[in-house]
C-alpha cells in the first residue's frame, strides 16, 4: 500500500469474429486500460483500424437524441419526497432496470416501442407551453381591464372603425400635463383627448379621424404613454369583460394542473425506463467507439493496454473464455520509464483519503504513495485544530448521514463523507482531551466540568505551542526519512546525503547551539564542539549543493517548522470564538428574563457559524501542513490516472448470466 499498484503491459490478439464478445466482456470486467494502438505501435507493425459499424452508431445517436428530448421534459417531474434537508441526506432511490444483453437491433426495437409512446409528452409539453402563453396574456388583459374598470367606456370603441381611430392608455400622475401638450402639438381639431385621474395614474382616451391616425400614434408613442391593447374579440364594458377573463384564467390554471399531472404520470411510467435505455445506449456507443483504438490484420484484432499485475490471470481467463481460446494474451511488467498509469493500492479503509492526495497530485508510478502517512496525520491535525468535541459530534453525524445517504450511490460523495466522518471522530477524541464542548458551554451554563481533559488551549497556550512544535519536528523528520528511503531505493546516494542526511546533522547541531544560546541548559564542551562542527559541515554541504539558494533552504526549513504553530493558533481561535459567543449569549440573557430565548437563538447561530468557519480553516490548514511542509520533503507527484475501460452503470444492473 505504500506504492501504486504494480502494472503490466498487455497485448491481446483475438480472432475478429470474437471482437464484440471480447469488448463487451472487457467493458464489464473493467480492469484494462486500453491504449490507442496508433500511438503505441507494436514494433514496426502497421495495423488497420477495424471497421466501425457506422449504421449502429448513427441509430444510437439518433435514439439517444430522442430520449434526451423526452427526459429533458420528464426529469423535472421526477417523484420527489421530503424537504431540502432530507433530499441531501437521503439516498436517491433509483429504480434499477436490468441491463439489456441482447443484440443492437433487439435493443433498438425495444426502445422504439416504448419511445413512440413516451414521445406523447412532446405534444403535452407543447400544449402546456401554449396554455402558459394564454395564461400570461390573460393576466395582462385582466390588469389592463382593471385600469378601465368603472369608466363606462365600451371596449367596442377600441376596435378599428371606418372613419375614426380610438386609443386608450395611461400615463403616470407626474405626467398629467401631457394630454394638454399633445393637443397643443397636434395643431388640429380632428384629434380629441379625454383624461381622467384614477388610482395614481391618468387615464387617457384619444380619438381622431383616420386621416390623423399616424399623427396621433407618433404623438403619443414619443412620450410616456402606456397604450392599453385588447383583442378585437373584446367588447362591452371593461367590468364585464374582466369577469369573463377571470373565468378564463381559472380554466387555464385548471388545464395547467391537468397537463402537469399527465406529465407526472408519464414521468412515473417512463423516466426510469428511459434513463436505463439511455445508459445502455451510452455503454453500447462506448463499446463501438473503443474499436477506434484497436488494430487489425486480415483475421486478427489487436488490443494494447495496462492491467494491474494481480488482475493478469483474471484478464487472461476472461479473454480465453470469451473467444473459445482463439486468442493470445502477452503481458510484461511495466517499465517505470514508460507512461505507466497510476492506480492506488490502499486497503478500503484508507482508500477514501486518496482523494486528498489526488487533490495535490497523484503519485508517479515509481514514487511512494503518501496516503498511508497522510491520513492519520491529517486526522490528528484536524482534530487538534478544531479541538471541540461538540463540533466533532455534529461533523461525525453529518458525515454519517451523507455516507448512508448519497454516499451509497456516488463514489466521490462516499469518499468525502467517509473523510468527514473520520474527521468528526478525530475531533470528538481530541476535542475531549482539549475540554472543548461548544467552547466553555458546559461549565459556563451547566456547571459541568468536562471529563478526560488533558490540555486546555486557552489556559495552557505555551504547552500547546510546545506540543505543536514537537509534532512539527516529528512530521518534518518523517518526511525527510521517507525522502531518504526514496533516494536510497533509487540509488541516488548523493541526493540522499545532500537533501536528507544533511538535516539530521543540522537539526541537532542547531538545537544544541540554540539551547546553549538561550541559556536553558549547558552542554559539555565536546558536545558544543560537535554541534559547531556539525553545523559548519551541514551549512557547507547545503551551500555547495544549492549555492546562495541554500540560505532559503535554511529559512524555509525554519518556516516549515514554525508553521506547525498554526495548530495552536486554530485551536485557540475555535475555543476563543466559541467562548466569546457563550459570553455574549450570557450577557443577552442577563438583560431580561424575556431575552433568554433570543440569547439561545444567538448562541446556536453563533456556534454554527463558528463550526462552519473553523471547520473550513482546520481542513485548509491540515491540508496545507501536508501539501507544503510534509510533501516538500519527499513528494512531487504528477502521475497519470489509470482509466480502465469500464461500464459505469447507475440506472441499470446486469447479472453475470446476462453475458454468459
Amino acid at each position: 500500500m505504500f506504492y501504486p499498484a504494480r502494472m503490466s503491459n498487455v497485448l491481446i490478439g483475438v480472432h475478429q469474429r470474437w471482437l464484440l464478445e471480447v469488448t463487451t466482456a472487457l467493458h464489464k470486467q473493467g480492469e484494462l486500460e486500453i491504449l490507442d494502438l496508433r500511438s503505441v505501435p507494436v514494433g514496426d507493425v502497421t495495423f488497420q483500424v477495424p471497421v466501425i459499424p457506422k449504421e449502429d452508431l448513427e441509430k444510437i445517436l439518433n435514439i439517444q437524441f430522442r430520449i434526451d428530448r423526452v427526459l429533458e421534459i420528464l426529469e423535472p417531474y421526477a417523484q420527489k419526497t421530503g424537504n431540502l434537508l432530507t433530499s441531501i441526506f437521503s439516498r436517491q432511490e433509483q429504480q434499477y432496470v436490468p441491463g439489456y444483453s441482447g443484440s443492437h437491433d433487439g435493443l433498438f426495437s425495444d426502445i422504439l416501442s416504448q419511445l413512440d409512446r413516451a414521445e406523447e409528452v412532446l405534444k403535452i409539453q407543447e400544449d402546456l407551453k401554449k396554455n402558459r402563453d394564454h395564461y400570461t396574456s390573460c393576466e395582462g388583459y385582466i390588469a389592463s381591464l382593471e385600469r378601465l374598470k368603472g369608466t363606462g367606456i365600451s371596449l367596442s370603441y377600441l376596435k378599428p372603425a371606418p372613419f375614426t381611430h380610438f386609443i386608450a392608455g395611461y400615463v403616470k400622475e407626474e405626467h398629467s400635463s401631457l394630454p394638454d401638450r399633445w393637443l397643443a402639438e397636434a395643431g388640429t381639431d380632428e384629434i380629441s383627448l379625454y383624461s381622467e385621474k384614477k388610482d395614481g395614474i391618468i387615464l387617457i382616451f384619444c380619438v381622431s379621424t383616420n386621416n390623423h391616425r399616424d399623427a396621433l400614434s407618433d404623438l403619443i408613442h414619443a412620450s410616456w404613454f402606456n397604450q392599453l391593447v385588447f383583442p378585437e374579440s373584446f367588447s362591452g364594458l371593461p367590468d364585464d369583460m374582466q369577469k369573463q377573463e377571470l373565468a378564463l384564467l381559472s380554466e387555464y390554471a385548471t388545464k395547467e394542473q391537468k397537463l402537469q399531472e399527465q406529465l407526472t404520470d408519464y414521468a412515473h411510467t417512463y423516466l426510469s425506463l428511459l434513463q436505463a435505455y439511455r445508459e445502455e445506449l451510452i455503454l453500447r456507443r462506448e463499446r463501438i467507439d473503443i474499436n477506434r483504438k484497436f488494430g487489425t490484420s486480415r483475421d486478427v484484432s489487436y488490443l494494447r493496454g495496462w492491467v494491474r499485475q494481480r488482475d493478469e490471470e483474471k484478464l487472461k481467463s476472461l479473454i480465453r473464455s470469451a473467444t473459445g481460446e482463439e486468442c493470445f494474451v502477452i503481458t510484461e511488467p511495466a517499465d517505470p520509464h514508460d507512461d505507466v498509469p497510476v492506480r492506488y493500492d490502499n486497503p478500503s479503509w484508507l482508500a477514501p483519503f486518496e482523494l486528498l492526495t489526488t487533490t495535490f497530485s497523484r503519485p508517479r508510478y515509481d514514487e511512494i504513495d503518501p496516503t498511508p502517512f497522510f491520513a492519520p496525520a491529517y486526522l490528528l491535525f484536524f482534530g487538534m485544530m478544531l479541538g471541540d468535541a461538540g463540533y466533532g459530534l455534529i461533523i461525525a453525524l453529518v458525515g454519517w448521514l451523507l455516507y448512508r445517504g448519497p454516499g451509497r450511490t456516488d463514489a466521490s460523495f462516499r469518499d468525502m463523507s467517509y473523510i468527514l466522518l473520520c474527521s468528526g471522530v478525530a475531533d470528538i477524541i481530541l476535542g475531549t482531551i482539549q475540554g472543548g464542548w461548544f467552547g466553555d458551554l458546559l461549565p459556563r451554563f451547566f456547571n459541568i466540568q468536562p471529563p478526560f481533559v488533558l490540555i486546555e488551549p486557552l489556559n495552557s497556550p505555551i504547552l500547546l505551542f510546545q506540543i505543536a512544535l514537537i509534532i512539527g519536528t516529528i512530521h518534518l523528520n518523517l518526511g525527510i526519512i521517507i525522502g531518504l528511503w526514496e533516494n536510497i531505493r533509487n540509488r541516488l546516494y548523493s541526493a540522499a546525503i545532500q537533501e536528507n542526511i544533511i538535516w539530521f546533522i543540522l537539526q541537532p547541531s542547531a538545537a544544541v547551539l540554540l539551547i546553549q544560546f538561550f541559556g536553558w541548559t549547558t552542554f559539555p564542551s565536546i558536545i558544543t564542539n560537535l554541534a559547531i562542527g556539525g553545523g559548519l559541515i551541514g551549512l557547507a554541504v547545503l551551500f555547495l549543493k544549492k549555492g546562495p539558494m541554500g540560505f532559503f533552504s535554511l529559512t524555509g526549513f525554519l518556516g516549515d517548522w514554525l508553521s506547525y504553530v498554526r495548530i495552536l493558533a486554530l485551536a485557540l481561535a475555535t475555543g476563543g470564538i466559541a467562548m466569546t459567543i457563550n459570553i455574549l449569549s450570557e450577557m443577552i440573557a442577563s438583560v431580561h428574563p424575556f431575552m433568554i430565548v433570543p440569547a439561545i437563538i444567538f448562541c446556536i447561530a453563533g456556534q454554527f457559524f463558528n463550526l462552519a468557519i473553523q471547520t473550513l480553516g482546520s481542513v485548509i490548514h491540515a491540508l496545507r501542513l501536508h501539501y507544503i511542509e510534509f510533501f516538500g520533503r519527499f513528494y512531487s507527484g504528477g502521475g497519470r490516472e489509470f482509466i480502465p475501460f469500464r461500464e459505469n452503470r447507475i440506472y441499470t444492473h446486469v447479472n453475470n448470466e446476462d453475458y454468459s
Binding site: 495535490f360 532559503f552 493558533a569 481561535a573 470564538i577 473550513l616 496545507r624 507544503i628
Partner: protein, 241 residues
C-alpha cells in the same frame, strides 16, 4: 470604581487588535468577493466554491477578535469589572494588539491569491484544492502575529489577570509586536506570487512544487520578523520563567 490608565490602554489594545485585522480582512474579502461576483454572473452554479474562497481571508479578523476578547476578559471588561489596572499591563495589550492587528493585513495578500483561485477554479474545478492551498499559504504571517500576541499575554501573566509586568518589559514588547506585525505585510507580496502560482498550476499541474517555492520566498521576511520578536521576548527574560 476607578478606571486606571492600564485599563484604558488595554481597551485601546483590544481596539487595535480587532480594528486593524478587520481592515485587512475587509480588503482581502473585498478583493476575492469582487472576483467571485464576476464568476457567478457567468457561472451561477459556482456560488458555493466562490463562497469558500471568499471566506478564506476573514480568519485574520477572527484572530484579531480572539486577541481582543482575551484582552477584554483578562481586564475584566466582559464582567464589567475593569478597574485600576497598572499602565505596563495596558502597554502589553497594545503590543499584542499591534502584533495580531498589523499581521492581519496579510489578508490582503490572501484575498489576491483567493481571487485567482476563484477565477481558475471556475474554469477548472480540479484546481479547487490547489487554489485553497495557495490562498492558505498567505495566512502564515497572521498566525505568527497571533502566536506572538498569545505569547506576550501568556508569558507576562496578563492572560491569567496577573498585571505585575514591569514597564521596561512592556515597552520592549511593543517592539516585538511591531516586528512581527509589520513583517506580516510581506503576505501581500506572497499573495501576488500565489496568484500567479495558481495560474501557473492551472496551466501545468506539475508546476505546483516550484510555484510553492517561489511563494515561500516572501515568507522569509515574515520569519525574520518572527525571529526578532522571539529574540525580544527572550531578551526581556520572558522565556526564563
Amino acid at each position: 470604581m476607578t478606571i486606571g490608565t492600564g485599563a484604558v490602554l488595554m481597551a485601546i489594545g483590544a481596539g487595535i487588535a480587532v480594528g486593524c485585522s478587520a481592515i485587512g480582512s475587509g480588503i482581502g474579502v473585498g478583493i476575492v468577493g469582487s472576483a467571485a461576483s464576476g464568476v457567478i454572473s457567468e457561472r451561477p452554479e459556482k456560488f458555493g466554491m466562490a463562497l469558500v474562497f471568499t471566506a478564506v481571508p476573514q480568519t485574520q479578523a477572527i484572530y484579531g477578535l480572539l486577541i481582543a476578547i482575551l484582552i477584554l476578559q483578562a481586564g475584566g471588561f466582559l464582567g464589567g469589572t475593569a478597574g485600576d489596572i497598572p499602565t505596563p499591563a495596558g502597554i502589553v495589550a497594545i503590543a499584542a494588539g499591534l502584533s495580531v492587528g498589523l499581521a492581519g493585513f496579510s489578508a490582503i495578500g490572501q484575498g489576491i491569491a483567493a481571487a485567482s483561485g476563484v477565477a481558475n477554479t471556475a474554469e477548472k474545478p480540479e484546481m479547487f484544492g490547489r487554489g485553497v492551498v495557495f490562498a492558505a499559504v498567505c495566512e502564515t504571517q497572521a498566525i505568527y502575529g497571533l502566536l506572538i500576541a498569545v505569547l506576550m499575554l501568556a508569558l507576562t501573566g496578563i492572560l491569567s489577570s496577573d498585571f505585575s509586568v514591569e514597564m521596561p518589559i512592556a515597552i520592549g514588547l511593543v517592539g516585538a509586536g511591531l516586528a512581527v506585525g509589520l513583517a506580516g505585510f510581506s503576505a501581500i507580496g506572497q499573495g501576488i506570487t500565489c496568484s500567479s502560482g495558481i495560474a501557473a498550476t492551472a496551466r501545468n499541474p506539475g508546476a505546483i512544487g516550484r510555484s510553492l517555492v517561489f511563494a515561500a520566498m516572501s515568507e522569509t521576511f515574515a520569519i525574520f520578523g518572527l525571529l526578532v520578536a522571539i529574540l525580544i521576548l527572550f531578551g526581556l527574560g520572558l522565556f526564563s520563567g
